[in-house]
Amino acid sequence: MADLNSKERMAIPFVHMPLNPGEKRIHNFLEVPIGYTAEQAMQEARRCIQCKKPGCIGGCPVGINIPAFLELIEDGKFAEAAKKIRETNFLPAACGRVCPQDKQCQAVCVVGKKSDPVGIGNLERFAADWERTHGTFTAPVIPAPTGKRVAVIGSGPAGLTAAYELRMRGHEVIVFEAFHRGGGVMVYGIPRFRLPLEIIDEDIKMLENMGVQFVYDMIIGNVLSLDDLLVTEKFDALFIGTGAGLPKMLGIPGENSNGVYSANEYLTRIYLMQANDFPRYITPIEQGKRVGVIGAGNTAMDTLRTAKRMGSDVTCYYRRTRDEAPARTEEVEHAEQEFLNWKWLHNPVEIIADANNNVKAIKCEKMKLSEPDSSGRRKPVGTGEFVTDEIDTIVFSLGCDVNPIIPATDKEIRINKWGIVMVDRETNMTTKEKVFAGGDVVTGGSTVILAMGQAKTAALNMHKYLVGEIKWDVSKIPTDPNAPGIVWEGKNK
């Protein structure tokens, strides 16, 4: 089979990911995609033409050698394929599930020019799952201790990646987490039907086996300040990966009514505190018959689909159209299979509550898209026409600002006017010596893989700094409070 020419490879049809059917899955929290069988995976991998200049590697924030692992899958060497991925990405099972491949590797795939691009994400997931279920994973060998101690603040995707990269270079690593379990946004923000808990726990266990220590219930900034960590606790370097955890609201009347949640609160109650298993778990969630979700990003899709599984009639309100929805294409498609209502071009202007402050209705202005402006973007403009829908529960899913606790407790950390921690874009150094940052805390909110990519850059530079290869340099960190956070530019450094 290996001697197919590229024309023959291009002719192989795309292997669609088998899914749990929509009418069944809306009644449970089981994972939606079932996963490829070995045959399906090998056939899909065969579609890769192994181009000489693979764009997909550059399209991956952590630079996975995609053609190499696809070739291994094609040859049926699944364990080796997983190993190949792990050379650059240590959370393959999670990334295969939650990465926006349609904006990254698969977007630049040459095969995609003619038909569907190669299902790289599906295959990454396949390799990682195969490795986990067949127990072929071997713990990496840790080099001799360097004698340096590093603290990682936050155990989300950025924190775990930084911990892994630093431990792999022989440093002593302690991870501090404010919640009672590790995983960060992967636990409290990403639904179980997209990312099962076992996968996160497995990765944390692996880090523990590598000698990374985890401390839970620890709010750095309040319990131990950054100075405490550096001075009394004698850490040689710190990594801030506290993420974006300050929900945005619209600032419209009535948004403090009972039954109005931020997506963070709604998802945290269900996925971290397990309110869906109430009253066995005693954290409550109050959800009415009709739920409205405002926004159309990835988190909005997660919220919509979660609310549906909680048994309500669910509607999405978004002021632009489906084409502008920032969510990953696959998520929108999956959501559309789940019997949701869509109100595109609806901009909420007021939430109406009853005398007991309970939500009763939502008032929206109908919008239309303007002609493209100079940047080519079509802005939503009001039509002056209003509609009011009866509703019992509203979830705001408009993204988050950066968690303010660390910047508020350490004035040496420079932030911009949106609260984003300013760093040197080459090295991820902050304005405070020995402190690095990465993930949503420096971007202001993005995806798991981008956070991981940055954490990786930061960890490599931390290592260089710890062994004395580079000096502390804050000269390139922007001083303008209007400067944006780091925006990923599409290439892994």
Partner: protein, 545 residues
Amino acid sequence: MTEQIKSIIKDIRIDQVTEATRALEAAARLTGLDDASKTELAAGLAALFYHDLHGKTGLIRLASQAEDIIASLGTAVLPFLIGELALADAESAAHFGRVIARSKAAAVKPVMDAINSHRGDDYAMMNLIATISCFKDPAALEAIPEILVASKGKNERLRAEALYAAGRLVRNLGSDRFDDTLRLKMFDTCFEALKDKNPLVRRNAVASLGKIAEKGMLTPDQERKVRDKFKGLLGIDGAHNWDNAYIVRQQAQQFFKFLKEDGKAHNRYHQTFRILEKRELCPDTYYYSIDAPLIAHKLVAGQFIIIRANEHGERIPLSIAGWDAEKGTINVIIMSAGRSSREINMMNVGDRLADVVGPLGQHSHVKKHDGVCVVIGGGYGTGAVLPTARALKKAGNKVYGIVGARNEKLLIMEDELKQVCDEVLVTTNDGTKGIQGFVTHAMEAIMKRGEKISHVLAIGPVPMMMAVANMTKPLGIETFVSLNAIMVDGTGMCGACRVSVGGKTKFACFHGPDFNGHEVDFDQLMKRQKMFVAKEKLALEAMGK
């Protein structure tokens, strides 16, 4: 016969794996050898031990086959094997050690003799002691006094080797082989060695003590001593004076689990969240002192914590009634209301809360005022005003305390408040004690005396705080209230605790919990607190099911 051996030995070469394999097979088939030939053969096969086998799986297999064959030759080859130990490198010595140990009890005496004759030759002693540590036969116990002497010797590498051997023997022989005298001697030697200057010696002493603990050979007193010592090495004891060598800390961390009350390994940032004291203040209301040294170290008046009682629990915010940074404890008052507070109130001294998170929120507004300060506590809030009252007093203010309750029986923390405030006024709704009426009546009483009030802090039920704020607003008295909104995470991540203050949405957990009472939308707060009433009732009904 000798010819045969010679041809075998000729083929034992690492560059000819096939020939060497064949030669080993031939050697294994030889029978009826005399002692001299046995030694000759052993010497030939032992050539394999001296090669650097690292990473070469084929050769490692050959070496282990050679070990088997030499061991099968019996005690006749012991003099040769022991003789080699004097000069062998560490890795080769390990091969010889394993072979020697397979002669069991019969080999102990020759090794002991060698130890006696090599006194002063530290290098040979190291190999001999390492060999002893390979024994799984109780006869090896005889060598322990020798090992303990060596572990106090002048040569630091020998000390390290001897300490390591002691631990290995504990593991190999099992706890029932060691009598009390021997146990005590071993403990004392190893414990003493923790003070050694050399990190490798300390590391091996830690490992040996760890193995002794692992085998359950420590008395409770010894165990406590080792635990405290390991805590010191790891820096968990709060003294910030951990061992500077990573290898020592790493070993201590590895073995610490055998010394823990709960069998779980912890690092220096671990807090047990154990209930150290529980006292009933009035029916259904309890005062707790909880072990949380890191939190106690950082608390400032006005901040709060979040508690989760157990794995199924919800995260509930609680005010702080005090703390002791030195003892590492924090104090809270919990009144049974919903399921979570009831579950905590069913816990007792010695029980552990699943999580205590904090300190959270901003500190209270403390400065020197012109007029007097009044702190008002209602119900469970009486404890919560204590820290701020103390801070206000410390800032040089005259501080009045007002405690309100429905009746005398429900009055709490009055005495504690008296110790902090210049004067405490009590109000009860039914007049069973103090002024009859509400806390606002006590405020009026203070004002009637002609004293100027410049600062008020009220903590308690929302209607009480609202009444206080409504009273002081027209008088222009600065009034702060502490808002106990519904929370989930407590760090500003979820926004469950949104409150309207001065027309703006604020997060009680991060911007608060203290807010200007004149700007708070109390009506909305009260309604928001009722958001989960139906669910809370269900949770309570499901309790214990």
